[in-house]
């Protein structure tokens, strides 16, 4: 068990593709860090640099106070779980688990003990003699986890380990990974592009965008105070409503359309306002705006998902799209005009140019 430190880590691929642009993170011992971001943002590259599968162009990576830039992957004391599991197809499950231990010259009895123990934890004891091709996707996933666990490494590295599973299994394994990680207390770095997975697993989230860190923080802190429009639209589902506004004497107005009226407590110029779908209440027309925000929205689609429903609409007068969460079983007519209100504390302001959060 140990901490991991990334200091100004950069990766430039052949052809001057800068995949990671100076990333610094301090990962505490036993912490579960999730790297999240859209496809191509450099998550895998960063993880693979920690694993030693990719050279570090500049910067420094240390695992437990040891700089590992030049250390062989096998000597970094890490274990990795790959998206396609990467099991050795010609070896039995037992051998798959034992391989990394045998190569490190561990005595047979100790290997056997660890493999049996991991097999128990993951409930794969019945398949130890099978080849990977005779296993289902979920079972393969468990074997891949087992191969990491038996090593008892300083850190687990996961690269989208659940993305090849079906939805139900994914949720089940997600819970299991979290439980295991807490039980073993092993420092973990987990890569995913699924924001829900990121939110539920992480002690701390690292939101990446185009090779840069957009925000680091506890999932709920990131959710409550997204540092930029990028984070705001990436974390949370459905995404936060982002509406471009301009200011005039009476407060904020929508840039397109007529259906926005907002207070301007900070005296901002043009800015982008953000409101989460669950923070918009349907109210009577004519309710005072106060420091909050009032929207007039035309209903386009009503989407019941069971526990709740969503209204997809547009700001009156041909403005931006807006999503509103409502209680399930509530219905509204298509094309109805609704008045919505958000309290001041639930409205986020972002710089119109840079998209960075403006603290008010």
């Amino acid at each position: 068990m140990s901490n991991i430190t990334l200091d100004q880590v950069r990766k430039v691929y052949a052809g001057n593709v800068e995949a990671v642009k100076g990333v610094s993170i301090d990962i505490a011992d036993g912490e579960f860090i999730v790297l999240v971001g859209p496809s191509g943002c450099g998550k895998s590259t960063l993880l693979r640099m920690i694993a030693g599968l990719e050279d570090i162009s500049s910067g420094e990576i240390s695992i437990g106070d040891r700089v590992v830039n030049k250390v062989d992957p096998a000597d970094r004391d890490i274990a990795m779980v790959f998206q396609n599991y990467a099991l050795y197809p010609h070896m039995s499950v037992y051998k798959n688990l034992a391989y990394g231990l045998t190569n490190r010259g561990m005595p047979k009895s100790e290997i056997d003990r660890r493999v049996k123990e991991a097999a128990d934890i993951l409930e794969i004891g019945d398949y130890l003699d099978r080849k990977p091709r005779a296993l289902s996707g979920g079972q393969r996933q468990r074997v891949a986890m087992g191969r990491a666990i038996v090593r008892e490494p300083a850190a687990f590295l996961f690269d989208e380990p659940l993305s090849n599973l079906d939805a139900k299994l994914r949720v089940q394994m997600r819970v299991e990974i979290k439980r295991l990680q807490k039980e073993l207390g092993t420092t973990s770095v987990y890569v995913t592009h699924d924001q829900l997975e990121a939110m539920t697993l992480a002690d701390r989230l690292v939101v990446l965008n185009g090779g840069n860190i957009e925000q680091i923080g506890a999932p709920i802190a990131v959710y409550d105070k997204p540092a930029s429009t990028f984070v705001a639209s990436f974390i949370g589902s459905p995404a936060m409503n982002l509406i471009e506004t301009v200011s005039d004497a009476g407060g904020l107005k929508a840039k397109a359309g007529t259906g926005l009226q907002g207070g301007n407590p900070g005296g901002l110029q043009a800015c982008t306002v953000g409101i989460r779908p669950e923070h918009l209440q349907v109210v009577e027309a004519g309710t005072p705006v106060g420091d909050g925000l009032t929207l007039t929205v035309k209903v386009n689609v009503l989407e019941p998902v069971g526990a709740e429903s969503y209204i997809y609409g547009t700001i009156d007068g041909g403005g931006a799209p807006v999503v509103i969460r409502i209680e399930s079983h509530q219905t509204y007519d298509i094309n109805a005009i609704l008045t919505l209100h958000a309290a001041a504390k639930d409205v986020h302001y972002f710089d119109a140019e840079t998209g960075r959060r403006i603290e008010s």
Partner: protein, 320 residues
């Protein structure tokens, strides 16, 4: 395309399911021809080629292996298995068979081993995704036919650089005269010519191994040598086995041309392979019966090789 239809129940004890092995006759789609002779007409060209160039000569060889033909071809006498017993008991035949075996083992081993070595190096370059990639494609597009020619030139008694090179170390190579020198040249040229073919197969085999499996092995095992023998090599086994059969066949039969060029049709005391001996005895020695008996023995050998191949291929593991 394999058909996918309900299984006719031959899958032991299983519930109704879709299966591509046991298809119920009535559900299987049939291509309908206007005339029932049509399909045979389509097959005719292929069948006649097989008949004219393979079956007929084979039958002819089997027939004449039981006859003793006089050198001018005017008469032939039925001699039963005499040609076979003569062949199998002749010390010359044993010597040639022995050489063929050694030759085959050497050619197969070295052409596989060197090709594998080169393929592993090339695979590294390709995985690094560098610009050498296109260059490498070129090399193996031109390689096989040209390599054979170059190989023969290298050993040319008068202009061959390898002969000169050996001379530097005081080895006066006398190809076509000295038994060892001649066999050496034969083996080297045969290996040289076969390497590009093996290389292509090994390389595509290596490229077929998943990158993440290799990476998992990188994390699990520090020693590249050990990694090769415990992960890469076993995963290459299907390719390797296929190439083994191909190379044995090559060393046995396809080296005829190389041997002929090296010997310049003057065998003298030089080593020859069984196939070359068939030619020598039949066309230079005019012993058609003996030569036919030898080719029948070779046919048997190929037959056995084929059976082994099918047996093992059936058992062969397919990794997905």
């Amino acid at each position: 395309m394999r058909p996918h239809f309900p299984c006719d129940g031959r899958c032991a004890g299983s519930a109704p399911h879709i299966c591509h092995l046991h298809v119920r006759g009535d559900t299987m789609k049939k291509v309908q021809f206007n005339s029932r002779w049509m399909p045979y007409a389509f097959l005719l060209p292929q069948l006649s080629i097989v008949a004219i160039f393979f079956l007929w000569p084979a039958a002819e060889a089997v027939r004449s292996s039981f006859y003793l033909e006089d050198p001018f071809g005017f008469s032939s006498t039925f001699v039963g298995f005499d040609n076979f017993t003569d062949t199998l008991t002749s010390s010359n035949y044993a010597r040639v068979a022995q050489f063929t075996a050694v030759f085959t083992v050497l050619v197969t081993f070295f052409s596989l081993a060197l090709a594998l070595l080169l393929a592993v190096k090339a695979d590294k370059v390709l995985r690094a995704g560098s610009t050498y990639k296109t260059l490498l494609m070129w090399v193996y597009a031109v390689a096989p036919p040209v390599a054979g020619l170059i190989g023969i030139l290298l050993f040319d008694q008068h202009v061959g650089p390898l002969v000169d090179f050996a001379a530097l170390f005081g080895w006066k190579m006398q190809i076509g005269v000295n038994y060892f020198d001649t066999s050496f040249a034969m083996v080297v040229i045969s290996v040289w010519k076969q390497i590009p073919v093996n290389f292509i197969f090994f390389l595509s085999g290596l490229q077929g191994i998943s990158r993440s499996v290799q990476e998992a092995a990188n994390i699990d095992c520090r020693s590249g040598f050990r990694r090769f023998w415990t992960v890469t090599f076993p995963l290459l086994a299907p390719t390797g086995f296929f190439l083994l059969i191909i190379n044995v066949t090559y060393a046995f039969f396809d080296t005829f041309g190389i041997i002929d060029v090296v010997l310049k049709t003057e065998p003298g005391n030089n080593p020859v392979t069984l196939v070359y001996k068939v030619y020598l005895d039949g066309f230079r020695g005019n012993d058609l019966g003996g030569s036919s008996a030898q080719s029948v023995l070779l046919m048997l050998f190929v037959f056995i090789l084929t059976i082994i191949q099918f047996r093992l291929i059936e058992r062969r593991v397919h990794y997905s």
